[in-house]
Amino acid sequence: MCPRPLVTGDRRCSNGWVNSPLPDRDRSSPDDGGAPVGRRLVLAMLGLGAAGVVAAPVLQRTLEDGLGAVADKDPTGLTGLLPNGGGFRYYSVTTSVPEKTAADYRLTVDGLVDRPATYTLDSLKALPQTRMVRDVQCVTGWRVPETPFEGVRLSALLDAAGVRPGAKAIRFTCFDGAYSESLTLEQASRPDVLVATRMRDEPLAHAHGGPIRLYVAPMYFYKSAKWLSGITVTDSVRPGYWEELGYDVDAWVGRSNGRDDAPTV
């Protein structure tokens, strides 16, 4: 049988256990009394969470400064796993992405152009290269400062192909089989839009969209389609993969997607 506790003290009093005259404390059930510490802890966590949301901008800056300094000297790469530990995050919308090398990589330029073309990796690298160093800003919040990109200006490829009158936009397709992007012809003609061959002064790695990716410096990074394989000139903007899912087509950093990040250009 389970003996019921002898309740003699005022159990709502926080020091009830200390002062209440429990002559036979051993026999009372210790599970029934005491302070509601559990409830207080739950409420404290809720308060801390709310305070964290409010204080996040300050906390984040402090942490980024500290972690950034550590990450620069971290040989294990473990700091890269910490939130906002600096660096890129890998997003792919498909299960796996084939690897392409100089032997089998091709980039086609077609659509409303006079001279459709197919480029190999070597032929792209042989064209005049432009190097830019800007911040990379992802629409999910992370930002990587001063990242060098190098490649052929998209406008140069479009000029070589001869854009026909009536063309309004460009559609980009990727050899992952699913991703797509878009730019207006005016956006595509900007000098800070590259068909990138190098990133961080190294050949583009597969994980970063290599061997060739788009680089749209003034826009959120989802515009910079990885694993670029097709450039098609069209008569209207066709929203890309994430844009079909609600992201802005004109994705200027700091002026779209409801965000106010500092512009990257």
């Binding site: 389970c2 003996p3 256990w17 200390v18 059930s29 210790p30 599970d31 029934d32 009394g33 005491g34 302070a35 509601p36 510490v37 559990g38 409830r39 802890l41 739950v42 409420l43 404290a44 966590m45 809720l46 801390l48 969470g49 964290g52 949301v53 409010v54 204080a55 996040a56 901008p57 906390l59 984040q60 890269g80 796993l81 910490l82 939130p83 906002n84 890129f88 995050r89 890998y90 997003y91 792919s92 919308v93 498909t94 299960t95 796996s96 992405v97 999910t140 919040g141 994980a207 899912l245 409801g258 965000r259 106010d260």
Partner: protein, 221 residues
């Protein structure tokens, strides 16, 4: 000297069999175990999908970002549901109130745990020891914070941008802390087969209950 069973004579076959030296005592009802199991699966799915969204190597391996995001959102949203449904059980409500209350023995338990004191009698505990109480309350609070910040990130129209950025910050760091704490919870369970049996079958050995939870007024099965 008192007589022992079987000593009365050669007709021992007619006497009742000797009682189990360590009878089992009831620790959790079926409802409680179902709530635990459902919550555990939801948390595991939520943590696994979080890892696939977050750890670059796993993200690279798994891909399919939209699907993973959807599974993560829904498993996370559903985590409180089993417990809320379980509130219909009187036994579960009674255990919740045991977990909520801290007595002086809980402070002694915590002090002994902090000193790594394993001496017999140094860690008095009722049905739940102070560590289990703290774990339960902390994770309950943390899960609610994850839920709130997660909803802010999910439904971007709910709040202004600064809130969303702040929610992302809290969600990321608290996820890391929760991951460590839940891993600790599983490590503790792995180290104690009888505790696991209690959650799996609902009952534990009386000897185990007496040594691990000496102040618990257990009921026999």
């Amino acid at each position: 000297m008192t007589s022992t069973p079987g000593s009365a004579g050669p007709t021992a076959a007619t006497t009742p069999p000797p009682s189990d030296p360590s009878p089992r005592v009831r620790r959790f009802t079926t409802a409680e175990r179902l709530v635990h199991r459902a919550t555990a699966w939801l948390v595991l799915i939520c943590v696994a999908t979080a890892a696939c969204l977050y750890v670059p190597q796993l993200a690279e391996l798994v891909g399919r970002r939209r699907l993973v995001v959807t599974v993560h959102e829904w498993s996370g949203l559903l985590i409180p549901v089993p417990l809320l449904a379980g509130l219909a059980s009187r036994a579960l409500r009674a255990d919740l109130s045991r977990i909520n209350r801290f007595g002086p023995h809980d402070r002694r338990w915590l002090r002994a745990a902090l000193r790594r004191d394993h001496a017999p009698g140094s860690r008095p505990a009722g049905k739940f020891n102070a560590g289990q109480k703290l774990y339960a309350a902390w994770t309950a609070g943390a899960v609610l914070v994850m839920l709130g910040t997660g909803l802010l990130m999910w439904f971007t129209g709910l709040a202004p941008l600064v809130w969303r950025t702040g929610a992302t910050f809290v969600h990321d760091w608290l996820a890391l802390a929760l991951g460590v704490v839940v891993a600790g919870h599983m490590a503790k369970a792995l180290a104690d087969p009888e505790a696991r049996r209690g959650m799996r079958t609902g009952s534990v050995e009386r000897l185990w209950a007496r040594s691990e939870h000496p102040l618990w007024r257990e009921t026999e099965e």
